[in-house]
């Protein structure tokens, strides 16, 4: 497998067409931009014109949201081919996907959970192997945010991710916001969850805002909505993770109710400050 240039160990943001003019006008000093692969699968047109302009000046992460790696059926070979073409076209520093499924016959346009069993582990390992072979590169697999579990699950999620990483050589996209959402929804300790992950393999971190509500039983229910600033408990856990593993490429995910570009930049600056403090601390320690 080819070792490709990695994302800079800095903060990046999701690229949204609505922000294109502001980005071109301001030449922001950001570590990288991230895009959703499926938004760039047309042959040409404004999406590619904008992306090519962004790509010319910035590191790029391509984040797939439709490969359905966690579905037990075969991977969509046609979709994987299109992904390979996109990766060849833009040569991103990183490609990542989810431990989730999103199509079953019809496309469901969401990241859905799977039972965590020996059988699904074997399937996900096969799928990650297939993706890495086809893309000729290492991918990152993202820990999910979930709202329910399956009674047939036998493997803790952290162990499942660790087993996929050990078997395939893929990396971990550690979504700290997902950890907090799942921790509240299922009532587990987010710090214990993070500690149980194979942290040496984290290639990127995601941070995002969430919608906080309660369920019909009056208990807290957090929804991974990507529609507002990163909450304080996610920042706190993020700082602890960076203190432990060192500066790591960090994405601010904001996909709905978009702020002006400067709002996104302010969130990235906050991540950058945490990264910088640990960069200096490590430098002094060295």
């Amino acid at each position: 497998m080819t070792i490709l240039p990695a994302l800079p160990r800095r903060a990046g943001v999701g690229f949204k067409p609505e922000h294109f003019d502001a980005i071109v006008a301001s030449h922001p000093d950001l570590g990288f931009f991230e895009i959703h692969a499926e938004n760039y699968m047309g042959a040409g047109g404004p999406p590619h014109r904008r992306l090519a302009a962004i790509r010319a000046d910035h590191a790029l992460s391509i984040h797939g949201v439709g490969l359905s790696i966690g579905h037990p059926g075969p991977l969509d070979a046609g979709h994987l081919d299109r992904l390979a073409a996109l990766v060849d076209r833009y040569e991103p520093e990183s490609f990542s996907e989810h431990l989730a499924w999103s199509s079953h016959g019809g496309h469901l346009a969401d990241l859905l959970p799977l039972p965590l069993t020996e059988a699904t582990l074997a399937i996900v390992i096969d799928h990650v192997d297939a993706v890495q072979s086809r893309l000729k590169r290492r991918m990152l697999l993202e820990n999910p945010s979930t709202y329910v579990r399956f009674s047939e699950s036998t493997i803790p999620e952290t162990e499942f991710l660790g087993a996929v990483i050990a078997a395939t050589g893929c990396g971990l996209l550690l979504d700290v916001a997902n950890v907090m959402v799942s921790a509240v929804n299922h009532g587990f300790d987010p710090r214990a969850y993070v500690a149980a992950l194979p942290l040496a393999h984290v290639g990127e971190i995601h941070l995002a805002g969430r919608f906080e509500t309660v369920d019909a039983a009056g208990l807290p229910l957090f929804v991974d909505a990507h529609d507002r600033p990163v909450p304080d408990d996610v920042w706190a856990l993020y700082a602890e993770v960076i203190a432990r593993i060192g500066p790591t490429p960090t994405l601010i995910e904001w996909d709905a109710d978009l702020p002006p570009f400067k709002g996104l930049l302010a969130e990235a600056r906050r991540a950058e400050a945490i990264l910088a403090s640990h960069r200096e601390a490590r430098h002094v320690a060295a």
């Binding site: 499926e38 042959a43 040409g44 969509d76 019809g106 329910v148 019909a216 208990l219």
Partner: protein
């Protein structure tokens, strides 16, 4: 205890079925550590349906505005129940949606709605189509007329034509920009040509004979053959003016 091999597929199929059908209970194997399982499963169901309807709203802003969000969403739900696309590339749902809209009879009382939606699908196709550099009149200047008639024009890969018994070009144009006009004559038949020579999609109303001329060119006829067919259909067809107009639109990218 892990179950034998069919289990994962059953789990996913049951989960998907309960998302598709609002009246279906979550699968028995779905559980929560705390709280109410229905509320929590409903997050997935809500995410899926909000995302799907948002996608169709985004693809068909004019069709949706013409019938109102409630009606459009009801039709969209039927589409997903009967013919949900498996393709994760959302902008490519436009054509399957229009084909279903036409075939299903879901809006049989309003045939013009299918045509407006078809225009919007053609717009999306053009928006995402491959790049190609249009040629100008200068590219034809040095060619003797009889040689030119034997050549084939290569049309822009973004090019599309939509014909309707309704004034789809006028209706569509009235919904662009801020000021939507509420007094338009929607009853005249219109044919539109859609092309994206550079960054922006152009929507132009053309005559039926001009549309037929372009369609013939697109079907690999020589320029001479296409002109002959157009003149047979309409003796008033002006080949020079129509060719110049096509070049001006940026609809021609080469000469074979």
């Amino acid at each position: 205890m892990s179950r034998p091999d069919p289990a994962p597929l059953v789990a996913v199929a049951d989960f998907a079925a309960a998302i598709e059908d609002r009246d279906r209970a979550p699968p028995g194997s779905v559980r929560v550590e705390r709280g109410d399982v229905l509320s929590r499963f409903a997050v997935y169901r809500n995410n899926v349906w909000v995302a799907r309807l948002d996608i169709l709203d985004g693809l068909f802003p004019v069709a949706s505005a013409l019938v109102g969000a409630d009606f459009f969403h009801a039709v969209a739900r039927r589409f997903f129940h009967e013919a949900a696309p498996g393709n994760p590339v959302a902008h490519e749902w436009a054509e399957p949606f229009v084909d279903w809209l036409d075939a299903s009879g879901a809006v049989a009382d309003w045939p013009w709605l299918v045509d407006v939606a078809r225009l919007e699908a053609a717009w999306l196709f053009a928006h995402h189509a491959a790049e190609a550099e249009p040629i100008g009149p200068a590219a034809l200047a040095g060619i003797a007329p009889e040689d030119l008639l034997a050549r084939r024009l290569r049309l822009h890969p973004s090019l599309g034509l939509v014909a309707s018994d309704a004034s789809i070009g006028t209706i569509w144009a009235a919904h662009q920009g801020d000021a939507a006009s509420d007094e338009i004559d929607a009853t005249r038949p219109e044919t539109v040509l859609i092309v994206r020579p550079q960054a922006d999609v152009v929507v132009a109303t053309v005559s039926p004979v001009e549309a037929a001329f372009v369609a013939t060119l697109g079907a690999d006829a020589s320029l001479g053959e296409a002109i002959e067919a157009a003149l047979a259909a309409d003796p008033a067809f002006d080949p020079g003016a129509r060719l110049a107009a096509l070049l001006r639109l940026g609809a021609v990218v080469g000469l074979d």
